[in-house]
């Protein structure tokens, strides 16, 4: 299995594309591994990759109920950013952004990270004061940020609604130049291929049905393909974390919601950055194929059905049309939903679980995709060492008992 390069592309083109091989193996499930990771989404696969690359642990299995990258990794709106408020969050998400910057080269797989910039609009004087505070906080935390005024917003996105009759008049925006979008599937596939090449085994269509607990310690998992023993078990299953926690005998401070997304028919280039409007509760970018990729608020009630509900669709699409009146007659190609696990402080949970031997990577809520490289790197550290990395330590589950929350829901004004 050779590397990917322009030369290889040319050679295969001349040989009728007959030289390509599967990007990863489909191994049979073995009886035991050093480390078993539940969930072959971005976080699980990245964890496996960094276990092998940074820690030299290659006796690793990644178990996936469905197909690789078929959960939230394949269902998000591909936005990558680090515009958070607290130092702990900036350290985490900016680590992820920096890893994304070199990811295509590192994985030898084009994840199409496009640093096109992102603006978060504000529509009132009060929002503008909070925006200024956010910009200052981000800069103090070493993250790039700029406060744009109305004219600067108009220069970057002229199709926004600057009319007098706009429901929410635009006053300005918080701009992060280094933010952007990536190719979501490619992130999963790139990590899968790179991890596989280092010896990690990815087993799809293998559902975890329980945990093997001996002497109060997790010693492996029961699966639809039989029991598997492991030195340590990590779970990275996003919206289904509570479901697995129930099998392991504990509860988590999580609620699962459907987050919907939409993509339009392809259009000529009309928007070259990511735009979010908290007042409208929407965000939008244009993919390289020309489709508008759009999303908004969570569905209102806890849900495990990956479909989404009509009232939220109306709110999101109505808000988008108010932001960009020109897209009112654009047709939608697809609508879908992913199940996200929202924590009380809108921050992730990383580290040991109440069951010794079982470790948690969950609670990313609606922001899991942008955090894949950092989540994987830190979770690999936790699984390899059995102890926290300095950046992951504040996100331990015990913060809820201690009351040391990292409340980004309130601080950076993310809606969920």
């Amino acid at each position: 299995m050779g590397g990917y390069s322009a030369l290889r592309l040319l050679r295969e083109g001349l040989r009728d594309q007959r030289g390509w091989r599967p990007a990863w193996r489909s191994p049979k499930l073995r009886k035991a591994y050093d480390i078993v990771i539940v969930g072959a989404g971005g976080h699980g696969l990245a964890t496996a990759y960094y276990l092998a690359r940074n820690h030299g642990i290659t006796d690793v299995a990644v178990l996936e109920k469905g197909w690789l990258g078929g959960g939230n990794t394949g269902r998000n709106t591909t936005v990558i950013r680090s515009n958070y408020y607290y130092p702990e969050s900036c350290a985490l998400y900016d680590l992820s952004l920096r890893l994304y910057e070199g990811l295509s080269r590192e994985l030898n797989y084009n994840v199409m990270f496009s640093r096109r910039g992102m603006m978060i609009l504000h529509h009132s004087e009060h929002e503008r004061e909070i925006a200024a505070r956010t910009v200052n906080a981000m800069r103090l935390n070493g993250v790039d940020a700029e406060l744009l005024d109305r004219d600067e917003v108009r220069a970057r996105a002229p199709l926004l609604n600057f009319g007098e009759d706009a429901r929410h008049p635009i006053l300005g925006a918080v701009w992060q130049e280094r933010a952007g979008t990536g190719r979501h599937d490619a992130v999963a596939w790139g990590y899968a291929r790179a991890a596989d090449r280092l010896g990690v085994e990815i087993v799809q269509n293998c559902e975890v049905t329980g945990f093997i607990v001996e002497g109060g310690t997790c010693k492996g998992v029961e699966t639809s393909l039989g029991p598997v023993r492991a030195g340590r078990v990590g779970m990275a299953v996003a919206g289904h974390s509570s479901h697995l926690a129930a099998m392991a005998g504990f509860r988590l401070p999580l609620t699962s919601y459907a987050l919907q997304a939409f993509v339009s028919e392809p259009l000529k280039p009309m928007l070259d950055c990511v735009v979010a409007s908290p007042a409208h509760g929407v965000y939008i970018s244009q993919s390289d194929k020309g489709g508008l990729v759009m999303g908004g608020a969570l569905d209102r009630v806890p849900t495990y059905g990956q479909r989404g509900n009509l009232p939220v669709q109306e709110d999101v699409l109505g808000g988008l049309v108010d932001c960009f009146p020109a897209i009112a007659r654009v047709g939608l190609l697809r609508q879908w939903a992913g199940i996200v696990d929202v924590s009380p402080d809108s921050s992730p949970i990383l580290g040991p679980s109440p069951l010794p031997g079982l470790y948690l990577n969950c609670g990313w809520g609606t922001g899991g995709f942008k955090a894949i490289p950092a989540g994987g790197l830190l979770f690999a550290h936790i699984l390899a060492q059995g102890a926290h990395h300095p950046i992951s330590a504040p996100f331990d589950l015990t913060r809820f008992e201690r009351g040391r929350l990292i409340d980004e829901g309130a601080a950076s004004g993310i809606a969920h």
């Binding site: 289904h240 059905g305 809820f400």
Partner: protein, 107 residues
Amino acid sequence: MLLLECPYCGVMADETELAPGGEAHVARRGPEASEEEFEAYLFERKNPRGVHFERWRHVMGCGKWFHAARDTVTLEVFATYPAQMQAPPEEVLAAIRSKRPGWEGWP
């Protein structure tokens, strides 16, 4: 679109007339509670894949809180019942069991 019947005013309301209020029957811990118990009360949730007991408020109607039993996968609403109770009534549990024979039961 979810449709729920308000048990007070009897209106079959669509969900935009109602406000969801999270998991129902979470036992409130008093001043004598341990830190673990208080953490559980404040933060830990069952968040089940399947039958869920939850609180709703008829905000655009009578304004009262009530309970509902709903499936979080299919979004089917099994029943609604008044707020003044610590646990779902037997007829609600029976209605769920008749539709979900394999259900693990309450709590």
